[in-house]
């Protein structure tokens, strides 16, 4: 795999942007600028490696923990932040909120609050793409917790029998709220859940964005070449609580620190780029600042934006 310095740099910037986006959310929630709790993806930024092999017109279906993925797909942080604030300038005019951000113009087909339902919806666009020979792929993101929903399996079987260009991305961050994957899933090799349907299924290390990227590149290629669906199981970890304000206590501080110290996807990638000579400490700090500035602007934009008119409550139920 040969990746240009620009591409690698872009990846790092998107990871930094993801983290910069989710970091101030705690304060914004506590200040009630954001009206409800939200789910952060801090620690899971390696997973956005799955976005880079995609084109703008490929489709992604995401869940409750999806800010980083959406930013990588190209969405405007301003309009995302405004949506989370419940402002009329948000992608969905404030009607959706953090759990339901959608921007079809970027192939972001909608975040879903019903865990895992994306795994059946996702087959729609890939079915369409196959029917119309558009050569587009569709990707569904869901957690290891959501992978215990039955329809996930229906979605995989359907994609397999129809050889759809669907990629299932299972983000195994080891916890579903306060429930450990060791308890909830009967075997820890979650790739078996795809293999049950004859779907090529791979375990990848989410702390290594290049490993994620490379495997995704391969399965996207397969999908475009009419070789059918694949499942990627990304081993990853979230540093923050399930949602802002949750009580914690279901894992040790030690475990969290251990991940932070040894498996942080940004730190690992930074080290790698420095090793390659593509990055310096100074440059890194500059990029971090750049990301923070973008998010500061987004917060300012969201904060200053108007709320929707109350009359909007009654519109857009029907076409």
């Amino acid at each position: 795999m040969k990746l240009s310095k620009e591409k690698l740099s872009d990846m790092l910037e998107k990871m930094l942007l993801a983290r910069a986006f989710d970091t101030p959310l705690d304060d914004l929630v506590f200040e009630s600028k954001i009206p409800a709790t939200v789910h952060q993806c801090i620690g899971q930024e390696g997973n956005i490696g799955t976005i880079f092999p995609l084109n703008k017109d490929d489709y992604i279906f995401t869940g409750h923990r999806s800010h980083g993925l959406l930013l990588a797909k190209g969405l405007d942080p301003k309009k995302m932040m405004a949506e989370i604030f419940g402002k009329s300038t948000g992608y969905n005019k404030g009607k959706g909120g953090s759990m339901h951000i959608t921007a079809p113009e970027y192939g972001a087909m909608g975040s879903n609050g019903i865990l895992g339902y994306v795994t059946v919806l996702v087959n729609g666009p890939s079915f369409y793409s196959k029917l119309k020979k558009l050569n587009r792929v569709s990707v569904a993101y869901f957690g290891e917790g959501a992978s215990n929903q039955g329809f996930v399996h229906e979605g995989m079987n359907l994609a397999a029998i129809w050889k759809l260009p669907t990629i299932f991305v299972l983000e195994n961050n080891h916890y579903a709220e306060a429930t450990a994957v060791e308890y909830a899933c009967s075997t820890q090799d979650l790739a078996l859940r795809g293999k049950a349907y004859g779907i090529p299924s791979y375990n990848v290390d989410g702390s290594d964005i290049l490993e994620v990227y490379t495997k995704m590149q391969e399965v996207v290629e397969n999908a475009r070449n009419n070789k059918g669906p694949s499942l990627l199981v990304i081993d990853c970890y979230r540093y923050k609580g399930h949602q802002i304000g949750e009580p914690g206590g279901y894992r040790t501080e030690e475990e969290i620190q251990n991940y932070r110290n040894t498996k942080d996807p940004i730190m690992k990638f930074k080290k790698y780029l420095i090793g390659l000579g593509y990055l310096t400490e100074d440059k890194y700090i500059e990029l971090e600042k750049k990301a923070k500035k973008i998010i500061d602007d987004a917060i300012k934009f969201a904060d200053e934006s108007p709320y929707p008119e109350p009359s909007e409550t009654y519109t857009e139920v029907y076409v």
């Binding site: 909608g110 059946v120 029998i161």
Partner: protein, 337 residues
């Protein structure tokens, strides 16, 4: 002489016409073709749907427009919703309305909410066809009438036609409409005949129909009970009781004006609805009148539903369970007495 075809044939015509006029219409469901996947073309079209509605379709449209599915209602209805977001107009069949239990999120949280939740950034032109109704001696898992559950959910259009003519026109309108539409097809009507034009025609969404004019009582009847109500109305003419039979056809949006106007004229209301009574379409229509037409009522308001029980299997019990012309007649008389 006007052409008569069955309700089932009317469905098939409606489907075929929309498929011919719009290549984005595809149909999906269990056993719609039959014999697929064996690598033997002579086996194709073995069933043409569980009720043979789509018999012959594979010949005209090929396996790229009609899709047999695994028994995975979440998966194939969900995929249809997903495909509807970006340009397809899938018509998906849920074999029995009872099975909505296994795939209800499609109806409760997905198709119905996406447009709103995404601030208008999506639309979902999906049509769900399902069959419903008791009388086939199939027991509690294959006989229920579940249109009230869907009518409850904002975001759906719901239609339950009672004649071949209405069925064809409403189905065509449903498929061409940009909103999710749920089409309830009564199994006992499948072989009933009626006059239906050959060509392409649409019926207005949300528009009900006066099936028989009358002046003493308004009977709002739905789906499978409309013909019964008409028969009762004819019979009661001999007893000098003049019954107006209203078929709302669409349960959502509901033709409120038609119902209110009729009640204004007759002063009495009976709603006949085969669904279970509580939180039903019957209660919905009665509430419409209670809120907006109370002053019109001269004597009584009444609902006639199937009982508040599951559907029993034994013919004796199912007959007792079902709505009959006799029950409608008695209900009319109890309102007017």
């Amino acid at each position: 002489m006007k052409r008569e075809i069955t309700y089932k044939e009317a469905i098939a015509e409606g489907l075929a016409i929309t498929m011919r006029t719009d290549e984005n219409v595809v149909i999906l469901g269990e056993d719609l073709v039959g014999g697929v996947g064996k690598g033997d073309d002579s086996l194709l079209d073995a069933w043409g749907g569980p009720f043979t509605v789509t018999k012959g379709f594979v010949k005209e449209f090929g396996l790229e427009r009609i899709f047999d599915t695994p028994i995975s209602e979440n998966a194939f209805i969900g995929a249809s919703i997903g495909a509807s977001m970006i340009g397809l107009r899938p018509v998906v069949e849920l074999m029995y309305g009872d099975f909505m239990g296994v795939c209800f999120d499609n109806f409760l949280n997905q198709a119905a909410k996406q447009r709103y939740m995404f601030g208008g950034a999506q639309k979902n032109p999906i049509t769900v066809r399902t069959t419903y109704g008791c009388g086939w001696r199939e027991g509690a898992h294959h006989s229920h009438v579940n249109y009230s559950l869907i009518t409850h959910i904002p975001g759906w259009y719901v239609v339950a036609p009672s004649t071949p003519y209405d069925m064809k026109g409403c189905l065509i309108s449903a498929i061409r409409n940009d909103n999710p539409v749920f089409v309830f097809e009564h199994r006992l009507l499948y072989d009933k005949k009626g006059v239906v034009p050959e060509g392409d025609y649409e019926l207005e969404i949300g528009k009900g129909d006066i099936k028989k004019e009358g002046k003493d009582i308004t009977v709002v009847a739905i789906g499978g009970t409309v013909n019964m109500a008409i028969n009762v109305a004819s019979k009661l003419e001999n007893e000098n009781i003049s019954v107006e039979v209203i078929d709302p056809i669409w349960l959502a949006p509901l033709d409120e004006e038609l119902i209110l106007k009729s009640v204004e004229k007759t002063g009495n209301l009976l709603v006949v609805d085969e669904d279970n009574p509580r939180c039903s379409v019957a209660t919905d229509i009665i509430t419409l009148v209670a809120e907006k037409g109370l002053d019109y009522i001269v004597s009584k308001i009444k609902r006639l539903n199937c009982p508040n029980t599951p559907v029993p299997f034994s013919p004796v019990l199912e007959d007792e369970y079902m709505i009959t012309e006799k029950k409608i007649e008695e209900a009319i008389k109890s309102v007017l007495k």
